[in-house]
């Protein structure tokens, strides 16, 4: 699994209230994407192109269990690479099949707008603009498989444990 795209930078301790604020709670998942980073970076969602990559600092996604990772996926982002990723947020990334990987020092290795090449199987992050490559911390194989398979819901659907996905749903 590989991604090559433009980078958007967000710093340390980006919390889930910023990604999926309370005002958006009652909306459909697609409508919720309009509110991503509304409080700290208004208008950003209109600049994002499908496949773009987020580069974050420390403890990205700290905060609540709300399906904030799903909003990043639904917004069309390709993947997330951060110095470190909050444990709960990381679970949601895997479960909602939004590719995310930790890479120490990644924040300083990129300027906004640089092109990144991210290889989830090879566990590397390359800054195409500067030519620098960093080692990433790969996902345990079990979790990478789960992510590639589309996350938890398709799995449970296949086993007849949950009902089919309906419109406006997860």
């Amino acid at each position: 699994m590989k991604f090559t795209a433009r980078v958007w930078k967000f710093g340390d301790n980006i919390n889930t209230d910023l990604i999926l604020p309370i005002q958006a709670f009652y909306l459909t998942p697609q409508e919720q994407t309009r509110f991503v980073f509304h409080a700290n970076r208004p208008g950003w969602v209109d600049l994002v192109k499908t496949g773009d990559i987020i580069v974050g600092g420390k403890n990205f996604g700290m905060g609540s269990s709300r399906p904030a990772a799903r909003s990043l996926k639904n917004l069309g982002l390709g993947c997330l690479i951060a110095h470190s990723i909050n444990g709960l947020f990381f679970r949601n990334c895997v479960n909602f099949a939004f590719p995310a990987m930790e890479c120490r020092g990644v924040f300083d290795a990129f300027s906004e707008g640089d092109i990144a090449e991210v290889d989830f199987d090879g566990c590397t992050v390359r800054n195409v603009t500067t030519g620098k490559t960093l080692p990433a911390i790969g996902l345990p194989p079990k979790l990478l498989d789960l992510l590639k398979a589309g996350g938890i819901y398709p799995l449970l659907e296949r086993d007849g444990l949950i009902g089919p996905r309906s419109q406006n749903k997860t």
């Binding site: 301790n13 309370i22 459909t28 420390k58 399906p67 679970r91 479960n95 909602f96 345990p140 949950i162």
Partner: protein, 417 residues
């Protein structure tokens, strides 16, 4: 090398002799708590088969009574789910209503040595009862409810030795703010609490610390068992259990001592909890529009009692809305019986039914543009309690009550000697 409390429980529940940092484990889940957000129209996936209805608890807490049509719809879906599977432990609006983490304490739902899951991030609260409890995502909950298991990455553990006794007007919220201010986040790590000082702490006080450990981004927060805790659980839940103690030679990433007797009232300044604590004096004098005491961290009987002590014979400033939300109707009833509720309302506080309410900005105390609030809850993130331009300071219930009286952020030691 031996294992920490969290490692021992994870080893037992994954059927292994030993687990350690770096391992990925699949564990049996003993208790699965679903709450109203799980049933929201944008989140709920229809469950067709449950692994074991006896292991599932359903709680309506974030917005009760229903705050909007969407939350009413979520509550309705939850009731239908409970009905369909005949789930015995259901906390609907009414006598049994409360915040899930408080209900866990009220009813002894978290058994020592077990695994508990809920998709609320403050689920580590239950670690006060010596169990590994973690907030997970909505899909994790559906997985655990249908498959009876979940996965965890095992992290390193930081051990905190609590020593001494808290001074008057200083609470475990201040102890938490000290830890969060001094050591920052503990992402990917567990925290473990023990030491001679825990003997001086009520279960409610300890629970403030495990609940707030979510703000350290800790994986699990566990307390070493003692007789006070074991009696608490036995008195509320007849089910058998085996408490887990850390091995003498357990490997810790760090062992740190917190001398409770040296602490003072602290506040976290707006927008972030960790590395943001300062002595209350540095915020003193800041005018506030709203004061709030409640949540899974500070809505216990001890908290309400402390607020009543500060308010006794005094009045809330006419410039301040002081909202108090007990963490469960059980707590509310106990506070009503002992006269605490009358003291609060006579002083001009507004006491709401048990719910998350203003803590999550859902209802009953949402902040407007440019307002300032001091809160004894769990989070002060930008936009957390309403408008993103509002400023949220966070302190202990004593600090919040003192501030409500003066109308400006105030050191509670003025009122409690």
């Amino acid at each position: 090398m031996g294992m920490t409390i969290a490692e021992k429980i994870l080893a037992k529940k994954s059927g292994q002799a030993k687990v350690g940092p770096g391992d990925l484990v699949t564990v049996e889940v003993d208790t699965v708590i679903l709450f109203d957000n799980n049933f929201m129209p944008s989140q709920w996936r229809d469950i067709l088969k449950l692994k074991d209805k006896e292991r599932v608890i359903v709680v309506l807490d974030h917005r009760v009574p229903a705050a909007t049509q969407a939350s009413a719809a979520a509550h309705r879906t939850a009731r239908q789910f409970v009905e369909k599977f005949g789930i015995p432990r259901f906390h609907d609006v009414g006598y049994k209503q409360g915040i899930s983490h408080q209900l866990v304490a009220d009813h002894g739902y978290a058994l020592p040595g077990t695994v508990l899951l809920c998709s609320d991030s403050h689920t580590c609260s239950a670690g006060v009862f010596n169990c590994v409890a973690r907030g997970v995502g909505g899909p994790d909950m559906v997985f655990a409810a249908t498959r009876g298991e979940t996965w965890f990455r095992v992290g390193e553990t930081v051990r905190y030795q609590l020593e001494g006794r808290l001074p008057t007007a200083v609470t475990m919220k201040d102890a938490f703010l000290q830890i969060a201010g001094q050591y920052g986040d503990h992402a990917t790590m567990n925290v473990e609490y023990g030491g001679m000082g825990i003997a001086n702490l009520s279960i409610n006080a300890r629970k403030t610390l495990t609940t707030m450990s979510a703000e350290l981004s800790a994986e699990f927060a566990t307390f070493e068992p003692d007789e006070v805790m074991l009696e608490w659980v036995r008195g509320r839940n007849p089910a058998p259990f085996e408490p887990v103690y850390p091995d003498k030679d357990a490997g810790y990433a760090a062992v740190r001592t917190v001398d409770l007797s040296k602490l003072e009232p602290l506040v976290a300044f707006p927008d972030t909890v960790v590395e943001n604590s300062r002595p209350v004096a540095e915020a003193a004098g800041t005018a506030i529009d709203q004061a709030f005491v409640g949540s899974c961290a500070n809505g216990t009987l001890d908290d309400l009692e402390l607020v009543a002590k500060v308010l006794e014979g005094r009045q809330v400033s006419s410039k301040v809305r002081f909202i108090v939300t007990p963490a469960s109707q059980n707590v509310y009833r106990a506070a009503a019986r002992s006269g605490i509720i009358s003291t609060l309302v006579e002083a001009g506080a507004v006491v709401t039914p048990a719910t998350c309410g203003a803590c999550g900005g859902g209802h009953m105390g949402v902040l407007g543009p440019n307002e300032t609030c001091i809160t004894a809850t769990t989070r002060n993130f930008k936009g957390r309690m309403g408008d993103p331009s509002a400023r949220i300071f966070m302190g202990s219930p004593a600090t919040v009550a003192a501030s409500a009286i003066r109308g400006v952020i105030t050191d509670p030691r003025e009122f409690l000697h």
